[in-house]
Amino acid sequence: MTAAARAPIIEARGLTKRFLKAPDLAERASAWLGGKAGGEVVRAVDGVSLTIGKGEVVGLAGESGCGKSTLGRMIAGLLEPSEGVLLYKGQDRATLTGSQAKAARLAVQMIFQDPYSSLNPRLRVEAAVGEAPLVHGLVSRADVARYVADILKRVGLDPELRRRFPHQFSGGQRSRIGIARALAVKPEFLVCDEAIAALDVSIQAQIINLFLDLREAYDLTYLFISHDLGVVQHICDRILIMYLGRIVEAAPTRALFESPNHPYTRALLAEVPRISLTKRTFHPIKGEIPSPLDPPPGCHFHPRCQHAMPRCRTEAPALRTIAPGRTSACHLNDA
């Protein structure tokens, strides 16, 4: 099924997030002495539009600093966008009030990369998992123990362990606790931000399998944020590639890996380490991601792109449809 055929659950239009770097002491002093005032602005996410259909698993991939986590946090409602609109099931989330706003917030949950820092070390597992559904009235105080035990079982944890503290668990188990906590409020949409990046390969496989099982059991929609294209390729229906705050290409997984369109996607896919029977020679793309404080003009990728033309240095390419269900932001497609 294509994305358009499903009812959209999340829609973003021109989503932008700017962070203002607060001036440090020296800069404040120079401003006070009549120097250049004002801090620097980072456009972490720069006018991103996307639609995620109910039941889809969408991957968001890119290198560190490309803004993928910021975008994920805005979609999860943890950060307010500086500009742009976020629609939840067709309604602008900023205009929702009362119970509707609460329902929209609960429906989108986030799973974080680091289960060490996202779990309160002083809360027992049953409190960490049971607190939110209790507060939101999804379960009564009398039933909460049974409810928590049920969720722990669902994510593959022994309910006997519910009286333990986070430090008494291994990394893989802590990931499961993070997933249980998100599931406890019966969400429809999960934003997983590098949720398995810190785990060992064998444990990573267990958690990927858990995500696949839960998707079926609860009819979940995922936005899977990862730098690991191998993982994204395995679990996602559709992939968005981000570079310096902008989406440069979006395509169904198979199409993207078979025929990447954007030069950055092509370079990125070529670098994915694969299990191979022979030694290979690496032919990496040159250079590094430029600082988001001072992104290059025009197409952000042009300083590293071997196909860059004069036009790329001045004019930012728009994200255009190049095939059904596929978009790419590159001037080469106009030629």
Binding site: V201, S202, V231, P273, R274, I275, K279, F282
Partner: protein
């Protein structure tokens, strides 16, 4: 590598030979047998990939070779033969003379190598002059050339910067250039690309590959990432719970793994052709190294375990150039 060249590598005298190395940590909770009888060898110009999950003892093996074990730990027994000497019994001052000149290490976090308050040139020149006598200017020129070799643009300018002014990838390149600067015989690289993005990782792998090829340096590449190791290493050793469970040519180990654990690891890697399907996961988790049950260490998670596995298997060589520590190796798919 062609078969002829490969045979030559195998037959050459090894740069390093580790025999039955045991490094244990003596903690309040008990004795942690982090490395519990590891044997391995690396030939000149060869890249050995040492693969395993966290806590399997792969890093401790690397640190043991350099004599960099934390105070609670000790090399209990074994031999580390390098340049005609046994590093286990070498006095500290002689070991110190070897470190950074004949054996070098690249860490996961380059800030472990780099001093944050010293400029890059100060540190690189110091690394040269600690082991060689030459004018300062000459050492500086060497440092500049070394940076250029690992693909750092405008090395003169970079030499004058402090580590915090460089990006993560740049810092790792400086660490690699410093490791190779005294033309060591052996470089131990401990997950040097784990913290880096894929495009930067590919650049670093490219530089490391080039340096080994050009200088004939032997390298031990420690990593949890089978995909990286499979495309870089000549031989692969897989570690589990303090021992090497399988060792052989990279193409053999990846193409037809003998040990059930190696199989499990390969099955856990998400692959292109089975999108959306469940991965063949290994159940359970790695055992604690304090109270290891007797018998095969992988027994509790192994799909092939039977009564025989309650006694510990020794390393055996069921096929030529292939070693495995298992009573019931997967020989079916590996017959030549």
């Amino acid at each position: 590598m062609t078969a002829a060249v490969e045979a030559e590598v195998v037959n050459r005298a090894p740069t390093l030979e580790v025999v039955d190395l045991k490094t244990h940590f003596f903690t309040k909770a008990g004795v942690v047998r982090a490395v519990d009888g590891v044997s391995l060898r690396v030939a000149p110009g060869e890249v050995l990939g040492l693969v395993g999950e966290s806590g399997c003892g792969k890093s401790v093996t690397g640190y043991s070779i350099l004599g960099l074990i934390d105070p609670s730990g000790r090399i209990v027994s074994g031999r580390i033969a390098f340049a005609g000497r046994d590093l286990v019994r070498l006095p500290e001052d002689e070991l110190r003379a070897l470190r950074g000149s004949r054996i070098a290490m690249i860490f996961q976090d380059p800030m472990m190598t780099l001093n944050p308050v010293l400029r890059v040139d100060t540190q690189m020149v110091e690394a040269i002059l600690a082991h060689r006598r030459m004018p300062h200017g000459e050492a500086w020129a060497l440092a500049r050339d070394a940076l250029a070799q690992v693909g750092i643009p405008s090395p003169e300018r970079r030499l004058k910067s402090y580590p915090h002014e460089l990006s993560g990838g740049m810092r790792q390149r400086v660490a690699i250039a410093t490791a190779f600067i005294n033309k060591p015989d052996l470089v131990i690289a401990d997950e040097p690309t784990t913290a880096l993005d894929v495009t930067i990782q590919a650049q670093i792998l490219h530089e490391a590959q080039e340096l080994c090829r050009r200088t004939g340096t032997a390298m031990i590449w420690i990593s949890h990432d089978l995909a990286v190791v499979s495309s870089l290493a000549d031989r692969i050793a897989v570690m589990y719970a303090g021992v090497i469970v399988e060792e052989g040519r990279a193409s053999d180990v990846i193409g037809a793994p003998l040990h059930p654990y190696t199989r499990g690891l390969l099955g856990s890697v998400p692959s292109a052709n089975a999108r959306g399907t469940r991965l063949a996961q290994i159940p359970g988790m790695t055992p604690s190294l304090i109270n290891l049950a007797p018998g095969c260490r992988f027994r509790a998670r192994c799909p092939r375990a039977d009564a025989e596995c309650t006694s510990e298997p020794a390393i055996s060589e069921p096929l030529a150039h292939r070693q495995v520590r298992c009573w019931r190796p997967h020989l079916e798919g590996a017959m030549p």
